[in-house]
Point group: D2
Chain length 322, copies 4
């Protein structure tokens, strides 16, 4: 049975793995078994079904969670919605679910590469520290995928401080898609930016999505924000590669806001399943920030959205005609 | 044939209409004809089909646009995608399309009212000016739906200045949904926040969406951002009413970034359809900002998403059980 | 505003219109208004929205139906499902709804013609009388679209008899699609035959669908039913052009069973809305058989299914490559 | 890890298993592993993912099929559609795929049982022999699930004859769903009968689907085919439990035509992948008829369709109200 390891979904993530100190000591081998869709090294058109089993599970870590709701998690909303909850490791809402997204994104990446499309992402803010330069070559040289070496060092320092304090951090990830032809996205019901917003917002911990200038556009004048049209493209890219829900052919640029990991070891106020007030201190193997682990997940979601649109009939035709 | 006017989609918009000076002189009567779905004053389960015809059309205003691409619009992306473009009034990408969204939202509002759910929206930033207070009673007292009377006056002043300069402005709209039960939204593929992000990002001119703290969450500590769980709910609402993609029962809070209207009378660099560089000065009847017209559109999109989820079987059941 | 008349959706239906005596005296002009999607004589990629208003309505004919359920109609199931019913003309379940299907099919027909695909249908049985020959040239020469002139005359005679008796008739329609490339249809979840079955069964009055040999295949041996494979195709077409849910490149052949029109003037046992037993004699302007009116509806549904599949990316690509 | 055996999907199939002589000697253990969706013996709302691995595989049996197209199979259509084909065991089009349908149907059966809905199926024709009585108690007493003991014996005899001749047989399966409330199905786009037709036609080897009287309705008078309406229901069930696409509350009755198994050991004319004419004699472990193995598959598809509709909001509500 063929297998491959999708944990290096792209060239830019072949650098050093996140340092032990920056991520949780939980280590999944992420061995993928291909159940269907590949024959003699090629896809057949059959759905590609991949299975990644959880190996490094210590469910005992979670026993205490059966009867208590963790603040900032989906524990209570799940119980309220379904009247039943698999509390082991966060159940359906476990961030472990993103392994499937990354694996699927790795397939999409290979397909898009055939069309000259690539996607990469980096950390532009973490714990209140902003990257002040955008050197994409830098992101493989530090464990946080940060495009600014100096900021990366400050971010690492901030993680250590906050870890010691039993707290956690949020940040901002920027995603860049290059090589997209103009014409991806539907003008009303399946706008490219709407689909990207949905895909990125669906990642646990993401609380905001913006395209191009995003929230900064709210403060610009039209004459500043409009990208002058040139014969071959545009003289600027405030639009982030999308106008009217359709790709312009310029780089697609998106950013997502990542909330701080809700699992913290500081005591927090909560209730048990029967409503009794109590406090909780979460001691398991948790990350201090969803960054850097979330970076390849963001890439994967953009890869999947772009692959979907590249399979729509008209862009394919345009492509053929070009 | 019954008809009604959806331009007052909710109680909070019964105040003064946007002042002439702040919006374009184009005035659509927005008479709606109900084609199907209503019988003897009640919905029948048949799709409700509404038609709103454009009456105040001066296509002559757009004749010049057949051969030239307006910066910041979907003119060129549409041409590239389809190889053909209905250039009258922006065609498929005309903001006029939002009339249908508002009309549909007005139907959703009536349905949601039966369940005790309401949605309202306001202008929290315009042209770089922030609302500094959140008095929802104030929004009907000024033409910008701004919750801060003093900021509203500054915003109006800013619009007049920029109009005189032949330029345009962006802003930020906040949407508040109240009365949602816990349990709306699916845990992975149809998260409530993902669906809201898609719905709001699909509005022309929107370049960013955030829920609860949104991008501000990126700078918070976990201990600051987590909402303490109480017996009846939560002691805070940084989450904006959604955890793990599922409603918590708290107010749902979203904000969208609105880019400045791309149609400006200042000269801009562009090209004609055959690629010849030229300049364009757009002189038609255009707004200076998508705000305030976009405010009811934002409400409508949130109403539609919530109505969809309220029609899912399990929340309905929960509702019945509660 | 452009308009066109779709009542002649294809060449083979340009013959004599159904004789007055064979169909109801209700005559709709079927004037279509194109609301969107067409610009300067071409489609733009925008959804094509067509409206056909009911003009020849005599709702008074239906007043009596508000309080009584017609046997064989959806009156009671609709009431039970929704708790409300628009009883005028059968409401949502009126056969008048098929006008929209035929209009949409006329658009699909034009698209498919560009790919060399055509669809036609004929009456192979009516009132227990079978067509004994299949001369497609004959179908335009009789009002029943029957491919056998002699059987057509017997069918017409049968209709007159049954009309006099206040009763109604069913029949069988055969649909033939020619020019389809091999490769349309998905192997499991969207099989071409499954989609055709769904589309055809969704027509009111249709109670059965079969492809190729259909129910006759149940009695054949494998050696009789298998189509020998030849270099250029197949030496027979028992499969009706579909194997494994995918088109073979041979003619696609489907047949549908049409039940007798449930509206009859003979007295029938039924109940009123409050459950009181009563009898009903339906005296309105009703057809004696859904045939021949249903023939273009069957064509339309097959046209729509084929157009959908021709818009899938891979068949288009195959087409381009061929 | 919990597991269960879905090969007995319902009480009526607990009788004798198909005799060795009547089915192929290929025996899958069909051990199911539940990957997700069940926790402490209950469903959680998470998708229930089941995996059934093929154990009794002798791919060597299929080596010869890499370069030759079997008549009546999807070998060539698959190659034409995708340009690549996994030829082992029929690949994507293998009847082995129905194991997943039966497993899913077993889950649906448990859900529907809670609502008082049950589904069973039987063989009403095989190899040209019709069941002449409908004794549902009989179907567990013979290996063909035939409701007529005498016909069952004749069918068994026919299978043996045809097996000796190296040929294969088709037949007809009838499916009966009992306990459905009125109101399932949508009036135009998701009619219950259209969805059943799609689901049943999607089973490999099925070439026809009919509801209630089905093709026989084509020969009936309206006065014969209409079911008189009574206070509690209907005095007959020619409609097969569906009117206007909506369930009536009567038994739902469907029948499917099953073509003879295309794999036969008699020599057949075909071509190799490069188009060279040749003959093929298929010697593997093949059934003589898709019956009886297809009977639980038909049940499963009806179970799945009904479960989908029972999850729609309004019928659930009606159910609650009843």
């Amino acid at each position: 049975m063929p297998s491959w390891n999708p944990s290096q979904p792209g060239s830019h993530t072949t650098g050093p793995r996140p340092a032990e100190a920056l991520t949780s000591p939980r280590k999944e081998k992420d061995q993928v078994e291909i159940l269907s869709g590949v024959f003699e090294g090629k896809t057949t058109g059959t759905p590609i079904s991949l299975i990644i089993r959880n190996r490094d599970v210590r469910s005992g870590d979670y026993d205490a969670l059966a009867e208590i709701y963790r603040p900032g998690h989906a524990d209570r909303t799940t119980q309220q919605k379904y009247g039943i909850r698999d509390w082991r490791g966060g159940g359906r809402s476990s961030a472990r679910e993103t392994a499937g997204r990354v694996a699927a994104g790795a397939v999409a990446r290979q397909f898009l590469a055939l069309e000259g499309i690539s996607v990469k992402a980096c950390t532009v803010a973490l714990g209140g520290i902003r990257a002040r330069s955008m050197d994409w070559d830098e992101i493989d040289r530090n464990p946080l995928f940060c495009p600014d070496a100096e900021s990366a060092r400050a971010m690492e320092e901030r993680i250590r401080e906050v870890k010691a304090a039993g707290d956690s951090l949020g940040g901002i990830v920027e995603i860049l898609a290059q090589g997209c032809p103009p014409g991806l996205g539907e003008p009303v019901f399946d706008k490219l930016d709407a689909r990207l917003a949905s895909a990125l917002m669906s990642i646990g911990a993401v609380k905001g999505v913006e395209i191009g200038e995003g929230f900064a556009a709210a403060d610009l004048l039209g004459s500043e924000n409009n990208d002058p049209v040139t014969q071959g493209g545009y003289a600027a890219n405030h639009a982030g590669g999308i106008l009217g829900g359709i790709s312009t052919g310029m780089d697609i640029v998106a950013r997502v806001a990542v909330k701080p990991i809700p699992s913290i070891s500081k005591p927090q106020q909560t209730v048990t399943r029967d409503g009794t007030p109590t406090t909780i201190e979460i001691k398991g193997r948790h990350d201090i920030s969803a960054i850097p682990r979330i970076v390849p997940v963001c890439e994967a979601m953009v890869l999947l959205v772009l692959a979907d649109f590249m399979l729509h009939p008209f862009p394919v035709r345009l492509r053929t005609m070009a």
